[in-house]
Structures are given as C-alpha cells and as structure tokens.
C-alpha cells in the first residue's frame, strides 16, 4: 500500500459506519489529497454501507469539493458583490487569458488552477484575488501579469 492509500484507509477506519460522517470524511480526504480521487469514492461508499451514487451525489453538490487536483499555485478570485462592482470579472478574465485556462481548470503542467469564490470578507480591498493564500488587494486586469511573475519564476525553477 502506498502512503496515500494508507491515509485513506485510516480516514475510513476512523468513521466506519457513521452515515452522518460522509461530508467530514470527504473533507478529510480532500485535505489529504488536495481533491477527491475517483478511486476513493466506492471505498467511501463501502465503508459507510451506502451506494456509490450517494457519495457522488454529495461530492458534486457542494462547492468545496473538487474532483480534479489543484495546481501548485491555486488562485481564487473573489466574486462577492463588492468585488463584482469593482470589476472582479475583469480580473478573472485576465487570469483566464494569462494562464490560458478557464475558471475551474488546472493548467496541463499542474502549476496553476483558477477558481471563483463568493465573498471572502475583505470588501474594502475589492476586487481581490488570492494566490496561494496571499491576498492581492485592489486588483485589475492590468496588474495580473505582474502578480504572476514570482509564481511563474518559481514554477520554471521547479521544472
């Protein structure tokens, strides 16, 4: 068994048979793997004694769950009301153009992924983007390229 599989078994063992535990289990798996791997789903179902479709039903219902891995640099663009008014959509579009991926996708090299989120609660800084947990205040399409520079350099160094 690989280390990851062992982790999965651990999580499942801890909650075996707890039907209410489905969402916490999926959250834990996602914390461990960064997303919900397809292979994990039937195992979750089995450990709770429910049908796989129920697991899929929950996994696809909630915004938190992802079925694909995130990029190493995960980017969130706030689409709360204040950010929308201040031009959040333009920022999102600029990122899509720069990274050549659509919102919800991960770049083929695995370096970047892009997500839109509802209010993150710093409306006075609108519009806001978050790259790898660092908040970029008062963003604009014009500032996107510059903001990405350090992350791109880092990615290059890694390759």
């Amino acid at each position: 068994m690989t280390e990851k599989e062992e982790q999965l078994s651990h999580i499942l063992e801890r909650h075996r048979g707890e039907r209410n535990g489905l969402i916490p289990i999926l959250l834990e798996i996602q914390r461990e793997f960064g997303y919900l791997p397809k292979e994990a789903m039937p195992r979750v179902a089995e450990s709770l004694g429910i049908k796989p479709v129920e697991v899929w039903g929950v996994a696809t219902f909630f915004n938190q769950f992802r079925l694909t891995p995130l990029g190493r640099n995960h980017i969130k663009v706030c689409m709360g009301t204040a950010c929308h008014l201040a031009g959040g959509r333009l920022v999102l579009e600029a990122l899509e153009r720069e990274l050549n991926i659509k919102v919800g996708e991960t770049s083929p090299d695995g370096h970047f992924s892009l997500e839109r989120v509802a209010c993150i609660g710093c409306c006075m800084l609108a519009p806001v983007a978050v790259i790898k947990d660092k908040i970029y205040p008062k963003m604009s399409s014009f500032k996107v390229e510059e903001a990405l520079i350090p992350y791109r350099q880092e990615s290059k160094a890694e390759d």
């Binding site: 039907r19 969402i23 938190q64 409306c123």
Partner: protein, 616 residues
C-alpha cells in the same frame, strides 16, 4: 482550572476583573485580527509590537490582545489602545517604534496615525468620537474589539454566562421562553420569524432527543456579519445556544459553520474547550444538573444549505436540498427529531435579553422589529465595515452618517439590501427604516444583513444579472420554477445586457419573476427574482436604455460600450499599447494611439495603464 457553579460564578468574575488580574497591565493594545485587517497585514503589526515591547522591557506593562473584527474595516489594520481608547489606523510594522515611544512612554498620541474625518479634515483620537462608531449601538457585537475571543476569562469579566447562570438558578424553561417572547426578538437569518414562538414550538413536542442548531452558513456573497460575531465573541453564541437548550429541553447542539471560515471554526473550538473546562458546557452545567454539549460541523459550502431543512440534511451527510414543510423542524428536524434552528446573531442576542430583561430589548427598535441589527456595509461608501444599529435606523443615516457618504464625488444611486434575495433601493427610498416590514413593503428584505452601496458607475441590469447568475448557480435543482425559471430569466437579462433585448422582455421578466416567487418550493426561489424585479421597478429607464438605445448608461455592459483615445489628451507614450492583451491598439511614436473596436475586449487594461486619463 476552576469548576464554576451558580454560587461562585459572580465571585470568579469579580476576581478576574479586579485590577490585580485582568488590568494589571498599564496599557492594553487591542490589535484587530478580523479577516479584513489580517488581509492588510495586521498580524505583522502585532509581531513587531511584541518584539519592540520585549526589546524595551515593556512586556509586563503593556499587554497585546488579538481581538475579533473591530468593524471599521476601511481603516485597517486597526489598533485601539486602552484604557484611553485611542484609535490608530492603517498601521504598518514600521509605525510601531514611534507609537511606543510617543504614546506608551510619553503619553502623546501620534497625530499622523489617527483617524482623519474626511469632510472637516479634523484628527480624532478617541474611537468613540469617530462618527462611524458614534451612531452605532452595540449589543450583538458588544464585546467586539474589547475582549480577547480566545480567552474565556475576558468574556466572563464582561458578564459572559451571567445570563446562563440566571436562567439555571432562577428561571423555569417556560419563563425563559416568556422573556424571549416579550423581547420581540425575530430571527436574524433573514425571514424574521419570532424566536420566542419558535422555542415554544420546540418545547411543545415531547419526542426526545431534541436538538439545537446554530446556522452559521452565511452564504450571501456580500455579507460577513455572522463570521465576525463568531470570531469576535464566540461565547455569546454558545451561551445563547445553551439557554435555548434549557428552554426546549435539549442536551445537544450543533454549530454549522462554512468550512471557508477557518478562523471562526478555530475560535469556536477554543471557546468550546474552555467552556467545557470551566463546567459551563457538558455535564452538570454550573452545578445545576443540566447537561448540554455543543459540536461544530463544518459545512461544505452551498448557499441553499442556509435553508433550515437543507442544512439539516447536510448535517446528516446528504445533499442539502430543502424539503416540503410541514412538518416544521420544531416538530421533526434533525434525524426526524424536534429541532430549534436559529441564526448566529439571533443566539448572540439572547444572553443580553436574559440579563437585562425582554422589556429592555423591546424598548429598542420599531413596532414590529425590536433590538438592533448587524450589517456588513460595503460598496462605494467611505466607511466600509461591520456596523450594528437599532432597528428603525434609516438607510440614509447608515449610508451618510455612519458610512460617510460616497467617495470620489460620486453620486448615490442605489443600496442593495438582502443579497441575492434582496433588492436595489433608489435614492427616493433612502428614508426607509431598517425594519422587517418596511423593507418587505419596498420589495426588499432584511436578508442576512449585507448592505452594498452603489454609485453611478454601477449598472442595474448588470447587477440584476450578477445576482441571478448567483441564484442559478446555487439553485439545488429540486423544483422547476427555480431551476428552469431562473435560468430563463438569466438568458433574458444576458440578451438585454448585450443589446439584443426587446421591450417585451421587461414584461416577460416581471411575469416570470412573479410566477417563480409564487411557485418555488423554498426561500431561495421565492426570493431569487427580487434583484430583477426591484431593479425593473426602480430603474426601468436603465433597462430601456439598454434595449432601445443599445446604451449602458453606467458604461459597464461590455457589448454596449466602446473605448476611445482622446487625441488631445494622449501624450503618445505607448503605454496603452503595451498593456493591451489582444493587440487592439495601434500606436507609433509621435502619433496618438487608436483602439480597434473590433479587436477590443473591453478589459480596461489600457485605461488603467494610461497616466493621462486619455482613454474613456
């Protein structure tokens, strides 16, 4: 750790409030660690402060306290120094040495770090004299910025759990319910259901176990009140829940918080542990024989899960889809058992109601809406932040007296209240009072408490489209009016926003909107058309401009605007050409730039790049 009982709680409070313990330091530096301030680096300010104090041997005399959201987010990072109450704003780590030398050692406020009143340009040092704070009345937020939310002693020193002690020592459950009914408290989660009535219902059913649930889902995309309450004063919410448990004879509570609120969850965990340690939660609370425990349940994010039955399904590990009522949750809620579910702010109001009496609470507010309400004030207004005002305060007072008006000489256009379930109200309704019923009359709704101010750079069609898009995304898909109807509304709005709309579309939107409101199954669909209906009602001419003149007056809708370089202003520097991501700009040295409207994608990069304001 002391085991607190009804008898010794008062004594313990006096002991920890005595100058020998809590106030032993000469100064307390209250550094705001709400999400807004943290995102402007307040934790770096705190780090530097602690280092500098240590280096100067002042750590004993000056205590640094990390607080929940102070409220005045626009001025972050914020620090308030007690006991004098001086308000410092927009701090950087570099400001700290000066601040220590001047304020803490020499007793002189540092002018340049104080708040400046934007109209009079006057410096104001005391927090309570700043207009933003002057017009507020804090009850749900009474401990914000005053206590360290991670230290239960500070909460107890400010009467935390005194209400619980009163309930357990001298009130029957019926008396508790009576007091809450007398207070006139209505649910703060949006619908405004009378809390006392709900508790009475919850008590009436005698199937056990019963549950208490705190709704901390807060999915409105322009709101962060509940999070701020949880981050600033978690014990008030716990105390409210325990009192509810006693009133309805329940022994288990759950707090459902969005997993996106990690700081709130962290502080709740600490609060629960500390309360358990003191015997304020768990078995035999305060030695009274009453048992009640609380667990946290992190929600996985879905707006519709804020709806009570959907929330309960998701607690059970299922898809969060609302079910038909009746039965109400008070009869058959979580796992089919009687359940009382209230909003975070609703619970946070309960301890004060018990301590001060229902009549006291009912003395604030209007005929039908008592007490105070917390709002997240954002958008185009000077003083963005978290506020609490008595019910009945006018929107005008909130926007202009507390919010400080519209910046950049902009003109007030609308205020959005209630998020995706709410409405955009025009200037002519600025004297509307915040009150469940008067907002309802105006086609709006209290909602959770997001207030977004808009000026003339906001397009109402685009705003309606934004909220409709949100509702389409968040519809659970169970009932057709909401799932299909909202999608059709979105398509029509998109048509109008791209200049392909017809006048019949407006009528169609109105008809559809009314049908969806009437035939949807849950509160999401019943209110989702409000942003569209209210913008048509109050800003019809803007829809007409999009349709008849193919013009977006606020210059927002990309298909209806064209950008142009003003050759007189253009300094021929070529920065715009560099900024353009799609090579829509032609420019050569010594000639003004030109934008090709066919290639231009209206991303505004050139406008931001131009230093001379030559592009519009």
């Amino acid at each position: 750790m002391p085991q607190l009982t009804i008898e010794n709680l008062k004594e313990f409070k006096e002991k920890i409030s005595s100058p020998l313990t809590i106030n032993q330091a000469e100064f307390r530096c209250m550094v705001c660690a709400g999400t807004g301030c943290v995102s402007c680096n307040s934790l770096k300010v705190r780090e530097r402060l602690e280092e500098e104090l240590k280096a100067r041997g002042l750590s004993e005399r000056v205590k640094v306290v990390i607080t929940g959201c102070n409220g005045f987010c626009a001025e972050g990072p914020i620090m308030v120094i007690q006991p004098d109450g001086t308000f410092y704003r927009k701090l950087t780590p570099e400001d700290i040495p000066l601040l220590i030398e001047e304020h803490l050692l020499k007793g002189r406020p540092v002018e340049k770090l104080l708040y400046t009143e934007p109209t009079t340009k006057k410096k104001i040092s005391a927090m309570k004299e700043i207009p933003f704070f002057q017009h507020q009345v804090l009850w749900a937020l009474r401990n914000r910025g005053v206590i360290d939310p991670e230290n239960i002693d500070e909460s107890i020193a400010r009467d935390g759990y005194a209400g619980l002690s009163k309930v357990l020592s001298s009130m029957t459950p019926e008396e508790v319910i009576q007091e809450v009914k007398l207070s006139g408290l209505r649910g703060r989660g949006g619908a405004g259901f009378p809390t006392g009535l709900k508790w009475e219902e919850g008590r009436r059913y005698s199937s056990f176990p019963k549950y208490v649930i705190c709704n901390g889902d807060e999915g409105d995309p322009g709101a962060f009140m509940d999070r701020s309450i949880l981050e600033a004063d978690p014990h008030a919410v716990l105390e409210g829940m325990i009192i509810c448990g006693y009133a309805i004879d329940s022994h288990q509570g759950y707090i459902y918080v969005r997993a996106e609120y990690p700081l709130a969850i962290h502080r709740l965990r600490i609060a629960i542990d500390q309360a358990r340690g003191y015997g304020l939660l768990g078995r035999n609370i305060l030695g009274s024989g009453f048992d009640f425990d609380i667990d946290i349940y992190p929600g996985a994010g879905a707006f519709v899960c804020g709806e009570s039955t959907a929330l309960m399904y998701s607690l059970e590990g299922r898809r969060g889809m609302p079910r038909i009522k009746p039965p109400r949750s008070t009869e058959a809620g979580l796992w089919g058992q009687p359940t009382v579910l209230n909003n975070v702010e609703t619970f946070a109001n309960v301890p004060s109601i018990i301590r001060n009496g229902g009549a006291w609470f009912a003395s604030m507010g209007t005929g039908g809406s008592k007490g105070t309400k917390v709002f997240a004030l954002t958008g185009t207004v000077y003083n963005v932040g978290l506020i609490e005002v008595p019910m009945g305060t006018t929107l005008r007072k909130i926007v202009f007296d507390i919010g400080g008006g519209i910046p950049r000489k902009g003109e007030f256009k609308a205020i959005q209240i209630g998020g995706p379930s709410g409405a955009c109200l025009p200037a002519s309704l600025l004297d509307t009072e915040v009150d469940f019923d008067s907002l309802d009359e105006a086609g709006a709704m209290m909602g959770s408490g997001g207030l977004v101010v808009m000026d003339d750079s906001t397009c109402m069609v685009d705003t309606a489209r934004f909220f409709t898009d949100f509702s389409v995304d968040e519809s659970c898909g169970k009932c057709i009016p909401c799932r299909v109807g909202m999608k059709v509304m979105l398509n029509i709005l998109s048509r109008i926003a791209t200049g392909r709309g017809t006048m019949e579309d407006i009528t169609l939107l109105e008809e559809l909107g009314h049908h969806i409101k009437e035939s949807s199954h849950c509160g999401l669909g019943k209110t989702a058309p409000n942003p569209v209906l209210s913008t048509i009602r109050y800003f019809r001419q803007e829809y007409e401009a999009h349709i008849q003149e193919k013009r977006c007056p606020a210059r927002v809708c990309v298909d209806l605007i064209r950008f142009r370089v003003d050759p007189d202003r253009c300094k021929m520097c070529g920065l715009c050409k560099k900024a353009c991501p799609v090579e829509a700009i032609t420019w050569e040295k010594k000639t003004p730039a030109l934008i090709d409207p066919e290639k231009c994608i209206r991303c505004r990069s050139c406008i931001q790049a131009c230093k001379f304001g030559a592009i519009d």
